[in-house]
Amino acid sequence: MQNQTAEKAAKPAVTSKTSNLVQSAMAACLGVFVIGFVGFSHLEVVHNAAHDVRHANAFPCH
């Protein structure tokens, strides 16, 4: 959130903070991937299996 790019100093605290941000971003990407697969996949089989959930979540369907 705090985009202090000027703070390039290799302090351990800063490094761990950056690493935490990267790891959080990776977790978020994994989540987006899972949602995309269940709710937005065009595969007929996936659509049919998750059909009622797609309707209930107002994901675009059919």
Partner: protein
């Protein structure tokens, strides 16, 4: 951090997924099943109707929309969906797949919510989680449903890819707008947030083709919108509060 987020999101997703499946079984599910009886029996769209599949509706003149067991079976035997590919059989099997999809969706959303929460400087806990959950509800339910309301099977709609693109763009823009409002105090951030949240609706959602009527009655459609929205709100409140709680317990820095 990655491990904490995953270890938090998985149990949260399982709990929320189970709770929401129970709610759907008494809420949205009966409405979807009822709408499908209209979809199967209703005015068959010529190009999509496989004649063999719709003959069962004609063969049972006393077509009861309350859908008793025998009708459900006939419905099932004819293949309930769109005549393409495999679909879970109605009843237990269908509920199991719905449960699985709900749990996966909840895990996915919890991963994103927990990750975003962990990036901020807020104190983790059920209350911050709850507010993040309400932000999620606004972003992926309220905002997209302004243009693309939850639909019952058999509702006319624009091309799928166009709707998915608008839906995703709206959810992301709304989430970014809410994020700006919460995290930045400057005036420009507020102006940008208002623009981000309003823009998708100025552009407008892809509209269904003109002159095509939904197969299910309006009253059923309206009830579905209300039930789906309330269920989603409970989903997000639960998901948010649980995500905040679990992250607080599992976070290495807490």
């Amino acid at each position: 951090m990655f491990r904490s987020i995953v270890f938090s999101a998985v149990p949260v997703g399982i709990i929320t997924g189970i709770a929401i499946t129970l709610m759907q079984m008494v809420g949205t599910e009966p409405l979807i099943l009822k709408a499908e009886t209209y979809e199967d029996a209703g005015p068959a769209v010529p190009e999509s109707a496989a004649p063999a599949e719709h003959s069962h509706a004609a063969a049972t003149p006393a077509h009861d929309h309350a859908m008793p067991e025998t009708e459900a079976e006939a419905h099932d035997a004819a293949g309930h969906d769109h005549g393409e590919g495999w679909a879970p059989a109605d009843g237990f099997e269908r509920t199991v797949y719905t449960l699985g999809a709900n749990v996966l969706t909840a895990i996915g959303y919890s991963l994103v919510l927990t990750a975003l929460l962990s990036m901020t400087s807020f104190t983790f806990g059920w209350r911050t989680g709850l507010f993040f959950g309400i932000g999620g509800f606004a972003s992926v339910m309220l905002a997209p449903m302004v243009g693309l309301p939850p639909e019952l099977p058999g509702s006319p709609a624009a091309e799928l890819a166009a709707r998915q693109t608008w839906w995703i763009a709206t959810a992301v823009a709304t989430a970014a707008g809410i994020g700006l409002l919460v995290l930045r105090r400057e005036a420009w951030a507020a102006v940008l947030a208002v623009i981000l949240i309003a823009a998708p609706h100025v552009v407008g959602a892809p509209l269904p083709p003109a002159g095509v009527e939904p197969l299910a009655p309006l009253e059923l459609e309206r009830r579905f919108v209300v039930v789906a929205t309330v269920t989603s709100f409970v989903f997000w409140a639960l998901l948010g509060a649980l995500s905040g709680t679990f992250l607080k317990r599992l976070s290495p820095s807490a």
